[in-house]
């Protein structure tokens, strides 16, 4: 399981770097698929099979297909020449690394996080879906119904926006 964690996290980080650095959007999309599959594997190592299946179905099944479909529809396979200076790129990379270092420092300095070096005995592969369903349909019932309204609204607005005449 430790080996699985390290292999999957290497895959996830490598493919995320390739998403950001590769010049052609279609290559980025395929590396993004690899990143999502690696993160789904990490969910399995965290014994959350339902979330892993959701990740595979929704992200790698639906969103990636949508993104690749739009890339092929727009037919813009290469990025144009860089108009922005190296300065701005370097400065934004530095700013992003400072933000990420802030997140890292917050985790490191938290006593609660550092105290948990073992997985909890409660909750595991067995009965994961039943537990999720119990909580989802009792405590989170109203948000669950509101999510369905959100999805309908998103669908209608997507159809309306992509009509010929606005």
């Amino acid at each position: 399981m430790v080996i699985a964690f390290y292999v999957l996290s290497f895959l996830a980080i490598f493919s995320a770097i390739m998403v950001v650095t590769s010049a052609r959007p279609i290559v980025s999309g395929l590396y993004l698929l690899l990143c999502f599959v690696a993160v789904a594997g990490l969910y399995v190592t965290l014994s959350a099979p339902f979330v892993a299946a959701m990740q595979l179905i929704v992200y790698s099944g639906a969103i990636i297909v949508l993104i690749l479909f739009v890339i092929m529809l727009l037919n813009q396979h290469t990025e144009l020449d860089k108009k922005r200076s190296k300065w701005v790129t370097g400065l934004s990379t530095l700013a992003a690394i400072v933000i990420g270092w802030g997140v890292y420092f917050t985790f490191i300095s938290s006593k609660i996080v550092m105290a948990h070096d073992k997985m909890s005995p409660i909750g595991g592969m067995k009965g994961n879906v039943e537990q999720l369903a119990d909580v989802l349909f009792s405590r989170y019932f109203v948000p669950f119904e509101i999510i369905s309204i959100l999805l309908i609204a998103a669908m209608i607005s997507a159809v309306f926006i992509s009509k010929k005449r606005l």
Binding site: V2, F5, S9, A12, I13, A16, I17, V19, V20, P25, L32, C35, L42, T45, L46, S47, A48, V51, M54, V58, Y59, A62, I63, I67, V70, I71, L74, Q76, E79, K82, K83, R84, T89, S92, T93, A95, A96, I97, I99, G100, Y104, F107, I108, V113, D117, S120, I122, G123, Q131, L132, V135, Y140, P143, I147, L150, L151, A154, S157, I161, S162
Partner: protein, 100 residues
């Protein structure tokens, strides 16, 4: 056993890569993919906390984030297609209609 902090460091690294992508790329579809990487890193830390604290609520939040990400993908890509029909470009530097 893997400690919790390993998962959180992985999540922070993915978050940083996603933010770098949002800031340095100018192709709007690549920026969109970077936003998805950021959402994934947050999901990963939610599931890790849920597993180590023995509380299943974190996985429910991940479920909601997945639904919102799907809605965001549909509307965002529809906007990209509408913009492309108007301007024949997907570079964010060309999006300056509001710039007086």
């Amino acid at each position: 056993m893997i400690p919790l902090i390993d998962y959180l460091i992985l999540s922070a690294v993915l978050f940083t890569i996603g933010i770098v992508g949002i800031l340095i790329r100018r192709n709007i579809i690549t920026i969109f993919m970077s936003i998805e990487i950021v959402l994934n890193s947050v999901n990963l830390s939610f599931v890790a906390f849920s597993r180590y604290l023995g509380n299943v609520d974190g996985q429910i939040v991940v479920f909601f984030i997945l639904a919102v990400a799907a809605a965001e993908a549909a509307v965002g890509l529809a906007l990209v297609v509408a913009w492309f029909k108007l301007k024949e470009s997907i570079q964010v530097d060309d999006m300056k209609l509001l710039k007086g």
